[in-house]
Structure formats: structure tokens, C-alpha cells
């Protein structure tokens, strides 16, 4: 999933302050799962904002709505009437959702309420970890299912650096060394020989280095 975390309330207050009527728009898929922008978070944020503005003796009308996904036109449509009634949309979707809304409603103000963080998983309740950087050329097969491009702080492809000790990355004692995990996994799988394989320089053209990417499915173009 795409993970994110809600922006600090003070930053959100500054974003919505210039407007009298604001629609807080939740997104019911990824950011709901990571507790940043689903229906519950929309409700809590709306209450917090109402209270804050009341304390500042300022008036603001806040409307709440959560749609299934802000990144798909099919669902975005549901938000049309609410958007028409308000001066600004505070989107609690990821960056893709915010931009999809801005594309669809070209004349409306769309504000981000969430900091999009990464493509990851919920490793244990409340703990989300980054697993994939969408490099466009997956090599997980040789690395035993652990991605060094994403999970090694130096994106090393030919083994761990000299800073790996006791299974921990040099940057932070709470970050496991990806190469330690790779070696553990390959040992379990009996594929430790993979490590001797020389990995040539990565082609980053399929990543963001090649510019904003586009995925074209000819068979689905109407």
C-alpha cells in the first residue's frame, strides 16, 4: 500500500485558514489502512479543526466526506456535489490522490492534509515499513525477496557495506541491515551462491531518474 501520515494540525490550520468553507475529503483505501486519511481520521480532524477555529474566534464551515479512492475517476465523481458547496478541498489522500483531484477539478483549490511516505506494509500493528521504491525493474528473485534498492540505506547491490554490525544498519539501531536479511533468507533457501553473482550498475532509467513515468496498456486504451 501507499502509506502516509497526517500533517501536524498547526500546518493544516495554516493551509485552510484562508477559506470559509472546506471539504475534508478522506480516501478509503491505502491511507485508511495506515490510519492517515480514512473516514475515522476525517471525523477526528474535522472536530479538531472546528475546535481550533472556535478557540481562535474564527468561523469555518467544515464538511466531511470519504470516498473509496481519490486516485480513480470512477470514485472521484461522488465528491462533485460536496466540492461545489465548498471553497477548498483538504484531501487526506496520498500525493497521487491529491493530484488526481486537482486534475479532475481544475478550478478548485486542493490542499494536501497528508504527507505521503512510501510503498510499504504494516509489519505489526501500528508499525509500517518501506519495502519498495517502484524502481521499475524488480530484482527480488536474486535477493531472496528482500529489496536492497529500498531497504539498504546505500542501495548497495553487491553486498553489505562495512557499517553493518549485529544485523543492524549503521544509520540507526532500529533499522535492520537489508543485506543481513538477504543473507539470512538466502541461507534458509539454500541459495547463498547468489551472493557471489556480480550485479552490474543498475539501469535507473526505469525509475524516477528517467523522469516522470507513464504506464501504457495498449489493450485497455479506448
Amino acid at each position: 500500500m501507499i502509506t502516509g501520515s497526517q500533517k501536524p494540525i498547526n500546518e493544516i490550520i495554516k493551509l485552510v485558514e484562508p477559506y470559509k468553507k472546506v471539504l475534508i475529503l478522506g480516501c478509503g483505501t491505502c491511507v485508511k489502512t495506515c490510519f492517515a486519511g480514512g473516514e475515522d481520521e476525517v471525523a477526528v480532524l474535522a472536530s479538531a479543526l472546528r475546535l481550533s477555529f472556535k478557540q481562535m474566534a474564527k468561523s469555518i464551515d467544515i464538511e466531511e466526506l470519504t470516498i473509496e479512492r481519490q486516485c480513480e475517476n470512477e470514485f472521484i465523481q461522488e465528491a462533485s456535489p460536496g466540492i461545489a458547496r465548498n471553497e477548498a478541498i483538504l484531501s487526506l489522500a496520498c500525493g497521487a490522490g491529491v493530484q488526481a483531484m486537482a486534475k479532475r477539478f481544475a478550478k478548485e483549490v486542493v490542499l494536501p492534509g497528508v504527507n505521503t511516505t512510501f510503498i510499504g506494509i504494516q509489519e505489526s500493528p501500528g508499525i509500517f515499513t518501506e519495502e519498495c521504491s517502484g524502481c521499475g525493474n524488480c530484482s527480488l528473485a536474486i535477493f531472496g525477496g528482500v529489496c536492497p534498492v529500498t531497504r539498504c540505506a546505500k542501495k548497495l547491490l553487491n553486498g553489505p557495506c562495512g557499517g553493518s554490525q549485529n544485523g543492524v544498519c549503521e544509520i540507526d539501531p532500529d533499522t535492520p541491515c537489508a543485506w543481513h536479511l538477504i543473507i539470512e533468507r538466502l541461507t534458509t533457501l539454500g541459495q547463498l551462491d547468489n551472493l557471489k553473482t556480480y550485479i552490474p550498475p543498475k539501469n535507473w532509467n526505469t525509475s524516477l531518474s528517467g523522469g516522470p513515468r507513464k504506464l501504457i496498456r495498449e489493450d485497455h486504451i479506448i
Partner: protein, 302 residues
């Protein structure tokens, strides 16, 4: 192969080589380098010039290494892949060689999180193994990474780092082999304080025939105080200072701790001289260049 540098020549003659270290200044003062070189010249075969070590911004290793050349000593220019993509890497290698820099040490580089500007974006376009390979391929094929023929290809003596004290230990010899396959001519190791572990690493490297394919220079850093020993053990990535070394430093009155550090360092060098598969010593007397003369002389290397 004709020796590519004086360091290469010394090692190829089977002589025990000594390299030192010169950290460039945090600014543009060339005198800092000249002063360090004055202290090292005559006592080392070559001097490593660090590349923004611990990710603290300093004078570039290329410029500083060029000053070392001008001062009459041979530099080992360190290059990290943290700050340059492959375009800048190849360009800098060509430029460095044109300035008379003949040795290079290929490194990943400390993560910028440790440095003075942790907000920086890192690069890591290629890793250190591929940096080694890039220098080797430019030298041996006369082409850049795209296959373009270079008019004069840099002919550098290629070094790499090895850390026998990092984990997973079993993988460290595989990693060494990988660096040798990529084209490393010599290896400088992380500072040795845990001699048992170093001996085990070199034994495995000997068993696999790796020490016949590459020159190994054991890294040493004289300790100045017990506090430094503790700091290095805790705060410096990939460092292993065993308790007995810390205790030994602690057991000496503060004013004599530096002498004890020198003594430990001399004992380490003595052991390294006798170890099969070790071809020299790399003395990293960080901001303590004056001690190198004493170490080299007392170790009987001069």
C-alpha cells in the same frame, strides 16, 4: 604489469608498504595539507586523501590529492559513491589522473546521516564494487562505461576497503573475493583492534587464495585516550574495539594513555608484519600525523 604507481612498485617488490592518511581541511586552506604532508613525507609510501569522510563537507579529495602530488608525496585518492553518479565518477577519475593522481581507493562512503548536512540527498547510483570495476575497465579497455574510446585512459592502481569486523562475518571473505574479481589491486582494512577476528579473516582469505591475488594493508589507528577507544567502539560505524583494549587504556594514568595507545599500535604492526597474507600497514593517525614518524621508526619500518 608495469607498476602503476610508487605504491604499486613497492608492493610488487614484496616489500612491506606503509600508507598514511591526510584528511582535507574544512575550507580552502592548502597549508593544512602541506603541514600534514611535511609530517608524513619520508615515513609513508603513499597517503590516503579522504573524500568528505563521515559525510562532513571538506575540500574535495581530488584537489587535496593534487596538492599532495605537488608536495612530492604520492596520494591514494579516496572516492565515495555517496555523492556522485556514474557520470561524475568517470569524469572525476579522468580529471584526477590528469593531475598526476595514480592510486584510488573505491568506497561506498559513510551515510550522510552522520555528517554535518544530514538533509542532503545521497546518490549511490553505482555501488563500491561497480566503482572498482569502472576504474578497472577504463584502465584495461581504454573505454568509458558507455564503450567510448578515451584518448588517454586513466591508469590507476586500484584499492578497495574491507572490514573484517563488520557482520555477517561469514560473508566478509565472499565480499573480498567480489572486490578482487571487480579489479581491486590492493585492500586497506578497517582499524584492527580485535586481532583474533582479523587473524581468522586473513586465514580464510589465505585459504581461498585471495591474498595471492591482492595486496592487503592492515589498518591501524593509535588510540590517544581511553575515551577515544570507547567513542570509536560505540560511535564509529563498523568499528570493533574489544573490552580488553579499553581496559588496558583505562588502566593507565590519563597522561600516559597516548603512550599506551602507541604501544598497542606497535604491537599490532608487529603482529601484522609476521602474518601471512598481509603486505603492509595503513596508519590512520587521524589529526595526529606527528605520531606516524614515531610509529614507523619504532616498528623498524624505516
Amino acid at each position: 604489469m608495469k607498476p602503476l604507481s610508487r605504491l604499486h612498485e613497492k608492493l610488487s617488490q614484496g616489500k612491506f608498504a606503509i600508507t598514511g592518511e591526510c584528511g582535507p581541511p574544512r575550507g580552502s586552506n592548502k597549508d593544512v595539507i602541506d603541514n600534514k604532508i611535511t609530517l608524513l613525507n619520508g615515513f609513508v609510501d603513499a597517503v590516503n586523501v579522504t573524500d568528505n569522510q563521515t559525510a562532513i563537507v571538506r575540500m574535495s579529495s581530488i584537489a587535496a590529492a593534487a596538492h599532495v602530488v605537488a608536495a612530492g608525496l604520492e596520494p591514494v585518492m579516496q572516492m565515495v559513491v555517496r555523492d556522485r553518479n556514474r557520470i561524475a565518477i568517470q569524469s572525476d577519475i579522468m580529471g584526477a589522473y590528469s593531475l598526476g593522481i595514480k592510486n584510488i581507493l573505491c568506497l561506498s562512503g559513510d551515510h550522510q546521516k552522520f555528517g554535518s548536512q544530514p538533509d542532503a540527498m545521497n546518490v549511490f547510483d553505482i555501488d563500491s564494487v561497480n566503482l572498482i570495476r569502472t576504474v578497472r575497465d577504463m584502465r584495461n579497455t581504454g573505454k568509458d562505461m558507455s564503450g567510448f574510446d578515451l584518448d588517454v585512459a586513466p591508469q590507476m592502481f586500484i584499492g578497495a576497503a574491507a572490514n573484517p569486523f563488520a557482520d555477517p562475518f561469514d560473508y566478509r571473505v565472499i565480499r573480498l573475493a567480489k572486490k578482487i574479481d571487480a579489479g581491486a589491486d590492493f585492500i586497506q582494512t578497517q582499524c584492527i583492534y580485535n586481532m583474533d577476528r582479523f587473524k581468522e579473516w586473513i586465514r580464510r582469505a589465505n585459504d581461498e587464495g585471495l591474498t595471492e591475488k591482492v595486496y592487503i594493508l592492515g589498518g591501524v589507528t593509535p588510540l590517544r585516550s581511553a575515551g577515544m577507544a570507547r567513542y570509536m567502539n560505540k560511535k564509529v560505524a563498523g568499528m570493533d574495539v574489544p573490552d580488553e583494549i579499553i581496559k588496558r587504556m583505562d588502566g593507565v594514568d590519563k597522561q600516559y594513555q597516548a603512550d599506551e595507545g602507541i604501544k598497542i599500535c606497535l604491537e599490532t604492526i608487529e603482529t601484522l608484519k609476521e602474518l601471512t597474507g598481509v603486505h603492509g600497514v595503513h596508519i590512520m593517525a587521524i589529526e595526529w600525523e606527528a605520531v606516524v614518524e614515531q610509529l614507523v621508526t619504532q616498528a623498524g619500518l624505516k
